[in-house]
């Protein structure tokens, strides 16, 4: 209630402030008189309050430290909620961009043996901004929380990255999420890229999940009522996003389940581990080269298992000055069906894929961190669709990429990164250099572990 009044009072005061300055001297006199009267009134009210002794004086003077033994302060309005909803909804904008160089033409990017999604590549050379993110989030009411993240690609247009509601008050440790959201499989998939420690996602995440696996659908999670963290969850999704495609099974083409557990070891260590299974039924799933041209389409089934582990260290659990993070995910994928190449030739295709990444990031002093990441993928494809020199031909090659990153953060809201990578996705190595800035304007986000 007080908030409501404050909301009206503030603009009124703001409007009044310049007017008082502009008022002529006579008016000033008048106002002084009014203020004096107000003060008298206030003093009277204070005296009354003291007499009734219903609550303690809000400010206790230094000399007078005695406080009534049982102050009934419980009725005082609580105006200091810490949940960032002082403005409803909380709004934040993330701006990012930078500079990239590649020793090879980025248009030639490919990963032999893999039919890639449209976001598996690394973008263009030179200066440029990346997608800006606009997030609105708030508790809708006592039962629901909702969040919407819109991304504004530099070419124009708006993408709805996430738009979901989540329950807050289901009994028994259950949480339901519905709408469009980043899937909870694996570890890093559910985070927005500005949270990452590297400028881009690992080769394995880009190959297996097309950068980020998201979908329209429903997620259910259950948190066990134990002192050790254990959570299981599952999702039913439309199935039109890579590695799915074509919204099979009447628009419920993908489903997944995951289990996560974690805890602390002493004061300084904490960890989180998970295992996930994703089942997709792609229909006419297009794959692309890095110029955006279609390299073929796939019909069949795509099943994947992901294992993930995160280990964090901070002295006494205080990560402000120094901290260390180790993170790894492994992927195993099986695709069976038919592949139609760009020329229209149809053939049976049976693919077995493995991959993963491991990264270590060390913040050695307040604001500065260094990190290293290695990622590799491996394909064994068979069937008539695997033709020499085609998209599914592995050339017997093991694609891999290694990156080094140096990060600097002036505050929680501004961050800069420099990244060197040796990309051996193809037999000819590509040396890459990238600079990035990330600026956060607006509400102070709270991040998951």
């Amino acid at each position: 209630m007080t908030k409501y009044y404050l909301a009206w009072l503030l603009p009124c005061l703001l409007l009044a402030a310049p007017m008082t300055q502009a008022a002529p001297m006579d008016d000033l006199q008048l106002m002084k008189e009014q203020i004096r009267q107000l003060q008298d009134k206030l003093e009277k009210m204070e005296a009354e309050m003291k007499a009734s002794k219903s609550r303690p004086a809000p400010a206790v003077p230094v000399a007078q430290a005695t406080i009534e033994p049982a102050p009934q302060v419980a009725q005082l309005p609580n105006t200091t909620r810490s949940d960032a909803n002082a403005f409803n909804p909380q709004i934040s904008v993330i701006l990012n961009g930078g500079y990239r160089t590649f020793s090879r033409d980025p248009a030639t990017f490919a990963v032999p043996g893999f039919a890639l999604g449209d976001a598996a590549g690394l973008g263009d050379r030179g200066l440029g901004i990346s997608e800006s993110e606009l997030n609105f989030a708030a508790n809708v009411d006592n039962l629901f929380y909702a969040s919407s993240t819109l991304s504004l690609p530099p070419q124009g247009g708006i993408n709805v990255e996430e738009a979901y509601l989540q329950t807050l008050a289901l009994p028994g440790g259950l949480t339901l999420k519905g709408g469009r959201f980043f899937s909870g499989i694996g570890y890093i998939n559910q985070f927005h890229p500005h949270h990452d420690d590297f400028i881009d996602r690992s080769l394995a995440n880009r190959v297996f999940l097309n950068g980020t696996f998201a979908g329209d659908g429903l997620q259910a999670r259950w948190l066990a009522p134990t002192d050790n963290y254990f959570e299981v969850g599952g999702e039913l999704l439309r199935g039109d996003r890579y590695p799915g495609g074509g919204a099979a099974r009447r628009g419920t083409g993908s489903w997944d389940v995951f289990a996560k557990t974690g805890g602390d070891v002493g004061f300084s260590h904490s960890w989180l581990a998970g295992i996930s299974y994703l089942d997709a039924k792609p229909i006419g799933r297009a794959s692309f080269d890095n110029t955006g041209a279609v390299t073929g389409t796939f019909d069949g089934t795509s099943r994947m298992i992901i294992g993930d582990l995160v280990w964090k260290w901070a002295p006494n659990g205080n990560p402000v000055d120094r901290n260390f993070k180790f993170q790894a995910e492994v992927f195993q994928q099986r695709e069976q069906g038919t592949f139609t190449n760009a020329l229209g030739a149809v053939g049976l295709y049976n693919g077995r894929h493995w991959g993963g990444y491991a990264e270590a990031v060390y913040q050695f002093t307040h604001g500065w961190d260094i990190g290293i990441r290695h990622s590799r993928v491996l394909a064994r494809n068979s069937g008539a669709a695997v033709v020499p020199g085609g998209v599914l031909d592995t050339f017997g090659f093991h694609p891999r990429r290694t990156s080094l990153v140096l990060g600097y953060a002036n505050s929680e809201f501004s961050r800069f990164r420099l990244q060197l990578s040796r990309d051996q996705s193809q037999p000819l190595a590509d040396n890459q250099f990238a600079l990035q800035y990330i600026m956060l304007i607006g509400a102070h986000g709270a991040h998951q572990f």
Partner: protein, 303 residues
């Protein structure tokens, strides 16, 4: 079908076994000072889990899996509020799937709602650093606030656990009496500190400065939440020649390097204060927290 029934029965049985006993009110205290206060007021009727230690910066806690699991099973979350925990508590509350402790429920308690806030900014511009729009959240550095919060917390505990209302009231009356006596003692002890000039590392002491009449002439962090640069430290040193401070203070969880450097250069004592319960060996409970803080300040001031 039969196997499904069997499975659900087993799961339910496991669930029942895993659920902690209903004997005590389970409290999740975000900071050690509130953990200590709940222990004073709740005694054996509460089971307190303290989420952070005195060596951790309460602004920057990670929403660790262990904390999510604890919030899931708790009956009451006691936070400071005023956006101190904004970087982690909202995630814990949302991830915990616990309807009882969502904001606006009786199971959610914010201490800052019951005291008079200081340093409430008239404008929130992050050029001044990570400013808290609701005011300085470090309210517990003034022990008079502890009593105000204790009163509200007592009401809340009685509301949540009506069966033991008398016991809570008894413990509260006892605590309030002891606290009043301690306040008077501290007040007398601290009189030499009136007007003493000091430099603090972070704007974390507004309430203590107000309580003791101390004069904070500068902070080592030029803006809140951003580490100091060399130029600002040089400014502080130059300032020291004109308007000398008597000591440098910093909290146990903060990196003391910049404070030590400044103290050495300026030739004034550097005091590591406990900040909260557990910050020093002496500060083992709420009473000794202020005992030790005063002793350290008095010693540094040479009084």
């Amino acid at each position: 079908m039969k196997s499904y029934i069997k499975l659900s029965v087993t799961l339910l049985a496991l669930l029942g076994a895993a659920l902690p006993s209903e004997a005590a009110v389970r409290v999740f205290a975000c900071e050690p000072e509130w953990g200590a206060l709940v222990n004073e007021l709740g005694g054996t009727d509460v089971e307190v889990y303290i989420a952070t230690s005195a060596l951790q910066d309460p602004h920057h806690i990670q929403a660790r899996p262990s904390l999510i699991a604890r919030v899931r099973n708790t009956d009451l979350v006691v936070a400071t509020g005023a956006q101190l925990e904004i970087g982690w508590l909202p995630v814990l509350l949302r991830q915990s799937a616990n309807p009882a402790i969502q904001p606006s429920q009786p199971g959610y308690f914010e201490a800052a709602g019951f005291v008079n806030m200081l340093e409430v900014p008239s404008s929130v511009d992050r050029i001044q650093g990570d400013v808290h729009p609701a005011g300085n959240p470090h309210i517990h550095t003034d022990p008079r606030n502890i009593l105000l919060v204790a009163g509200a917390l007592n009401q809340r505990l009685k509301q949540l656990d009506a069966a033991h209302a008398d016991a809570y009231q008894h413990r509260y009356t006892d605590f309030a009496g002891r606290w009043q006596a301690a306040l008077q003692r501290w007040q007398a002890e601290a009189s030499p500190l009136q007007g003493v000039k000091l430099i603090a590392y972070h704007k974390g002491w507004a309430y203590m400065l107000n309580w003791l009449g101390l004069n904070e002439v500068a902070t080592i962090e030029s803006v809140a939440g951003v580490p100091p640069g060399a130029a600002h430290l040089a400014d502080l040193l130059a300032r020291q020649k004109v308007d000398p401070a008597m000591m440098v203070i910093y909290a146990a969880y903060q990196d003391g390097k910049a404070s030590e450097w400044l103290g050495k250069k300026a030739g004034i004592p550097v005091v590591k204060l406990p900040f909260t319960v557990g910050g020093t060996d002496q500060a083992s409970d709420l009473f000794t927290l202020y005992d030790d803080t005063l002793q350290l300040l008095l010693r540094a001031a040479g009084r």
